[in-house]
Symmetry: C2
Subunit: 389 residues, 2 copies
């Protein structure tokens, strides 16, 4: 396999983009990424797209063809592939694109993710989210994704792995960084009290423990590492990518205070990159619910079990404060959570960190950064590691 590089990134504003269509945001992100890579669109020979629910939200399946069409690449019949893995859709699309370039089957690939959600009614959004849990044994019984994560939170508290305050601190951390990100949906820091006192969603989780409903798109351009310099001086090496699955339903797991898919994917990703968890200095993790952030840091090996919560609470996870800066983009909680875009947006943030272009959010001289994307309650997890060159 060939080594792969990221040579361009693009992202739209995340939030309530009521004046933009699904088509326009996806193209905006893609065109930004292509321009950032100093390419013409005609140099792209493959497209990969992560999207969860355009079929339900805008009555449009076949997003592969839609993107090829509206980017003008359909006139050259450029192959386009849409993947879906619930919340991990963007992460999986990135992985497929890396594989396409690494294999030699494609050379210069655009990978995008997009979701348009804020013009949907609540039941449509909730139905789509809950369809990433087990339809027969969970959602069909009335369980929502929020209530499943609430069960995990209760168990985490019961086992003494983290306190309620520590769990809430995951959201505080994301909002702290979101305030530094002009493209974030919520650009405001919030105190711990605000999270703890927010309206209950599924106890112990309140509204501020849950990522928002968002519109947005993100894109990156990949090419073989040894061709990157031809296009730009500012590129990033894809050090590794790994993916894991788990049972759809929580009750089938041995433990619900750890996601096996994260543990397995992280182990493979570190191995492929030839590094250890301690080499990571910036990480984007999937905090769709605050509790997921506790599990993520522990399952990724960035903190020992029982210590991730403390790190969030005492501010160690903020830029410049500890060994690894977490969710410098604002994470899903504050940057926003357009589902299919999320995994790709994480890659954009880590790539910008590796290139030293993260402005007020810049981590000092990072060598390795990591992105973790999660579908359902850890039923699919991707872990990508990027390396500064």
């Amino acid at each position: 396999m060939r080594d792969v590089a990221i040579i361009g990134v693009g992202v739209t504003k995340f939030g309530e983009n009521w004046n933009d269509s699904f088509r326009s945001i996806e193209i905006e992100a893609g065109m930004k990424a292509i321009a950032d890579a100093n390419l013409y669109g005609s140099e792209i020979d493959g497209l990969f797209i992560g999207n969860m629910s355009a079929g339900r939200f805008i009555n449009q399946k076949h997003i592969d063809a839609l993107i090829a069409d509206y980017s003008g690449m359909a006139t050259r019949n450029v192959p386009a592939t849409r993947v879906e893995a619930g919340g991990a859709s963007g992460g999986v699309a990135f992985g497929q694109a890396v594989m396409a370039v690494a294999s030699g089957l494609h050379n210069t690939v655009l990978v995008g993710g997009a979701e348009k959600m804020t013009d949907q009614d609540d039941s449509s959004i909730n139905n789509a989210m809950d369809a990433t849990a087990d339809a027969e044994w969970e959602a069909g019984m009335g369980l929502t994704l929020a209530s499943l994560y609430a069960m995990i939170a209760r168990r985490v508290i019961y086992e003494g792995i983290a306190t309620r305050e520590e769990i809430a601190s995951v959201a505080v951390n994301s909002h702290f960084h979101g305030a530094l990100n002009p493209a974030a949906q919520f650009k405001k820091a919030v105190p711990l009290e605000t999270v703890l006192k927010s309206s209950p969603v599924a106890e112990p989780l309140g509204m501020f423990d849950c990522a928002p409903v968002s519109d947005g798109a993100a894109a990156v351009v990949l090419c073989p590492l040894d061709e990157a310099k031809k296009h730009t001086d500012s590129y990033v090496k894809v050090a590794s990518f790994a993916q894991g699955s788990d049972t759809l339903a929580l009750f089938q797991r041995d433990s619900i205070t750890s996601f096996g898919a994260t543990v397995t994917a992280a182990r493979k990703a570190y191995e492929w990159a030839g590094i250890r968890a301690s080499d990571i200095s910036v990480a984007e993790i999937h905090d769709d619910y605050s509790i997921a952030g506790i599990l993520a840091l522990q399952d990724l090996g960035l903190y020992k079990k029982g210590e991730a919560g403390k790190a969030f609470l005492n501010g160690e996870t903020r830029i410049g404060e500890g060994k690894v800066a977490v969710n410098t983009s604002g994470g899903l909680k504050a940057r926003g959570y357009p589902i299919g875009a999320s995994g790709v947006a994480q890659i954009v943030e880590i790539a910008e960190q590796m290139r030293g272009r993260a402005d007020k959010r810049q981590v000092k001289d990072p060598k390795y950064g990591l992105a973790q994307s999660v579908g359902g309650t850890g039923s699919a997890v991707t872990v990508s590691i990027l390396e500064a060159v």
Copy 2:
């Protein structure tokens, strides 16, 4: 890239499988393929799944995790990836799986396709199908997929490329072969008159010009070609795979009597395999509407423009009659059309032909076989070529 082999195949009965769930049919096909490959499930290290509409049909997204879960592979966190490309979902899943093994990222991969449709009401099915056309410029205006293909048929007749009778003969050919396939939904040959006189759907197309609504699943197991012999004496080489896109909406094309995505994908597939169209002796083509069969044979270079219709009408496309046997499985029309399964089921049929296991449908000593899968009105097309070894 490494050469890739198919070492096992599995398929369920296609039809109205009211006693089976989506979960059970997918697992049935997968387990058959794994058994056929003389493997244990524990030897599989990657899963790829083609599915169009489980989110809509059974309220279950995240089919990747569902399959990993119910096949027992989630306990090992085996990576699972779901792709969707309308009618080409299965074809694209096969391509991603080939890429995974060719790249070396995976070694032994199961690729499946499934759809459970017959317990849906008509409007749910039609909405899902129409969502593979352009939601804003076609489906949103009231155009159905059938009416779009009817427009193509009208234009084909107008341009003198094929007559109404020749178009209807595509269905006659599929039914002729379906009668020889015990796993087909319709095991009955029909005369031309039956197709011509069937109830109008979108004129000139009648009910017998349209593939049925079906339940079913199909699966194949892939491994590196140089490891195939370890598992089985009866394996098939994947000679090539290629994929093309086109505009979502028909009105944006220069021509609607040819699918550019097929032309481009076929050219690449022949080139990669190092063969010419005339080397193909058996082909599975995407006859979701009869007219698509005319376009397929011409765009694949198997017949010149204006000659495919004649070949269907005079029976040249039947086993043993002409240079290439077309849709020996019964095609989408008679074998059945569980959408996400279809592209994988085509691969199963061609692989069985290459292994000499197609019973009454067996083509004599085939060297190369081809499968073409189509999404929407040619907005995504995959072409796979298999080689007997």
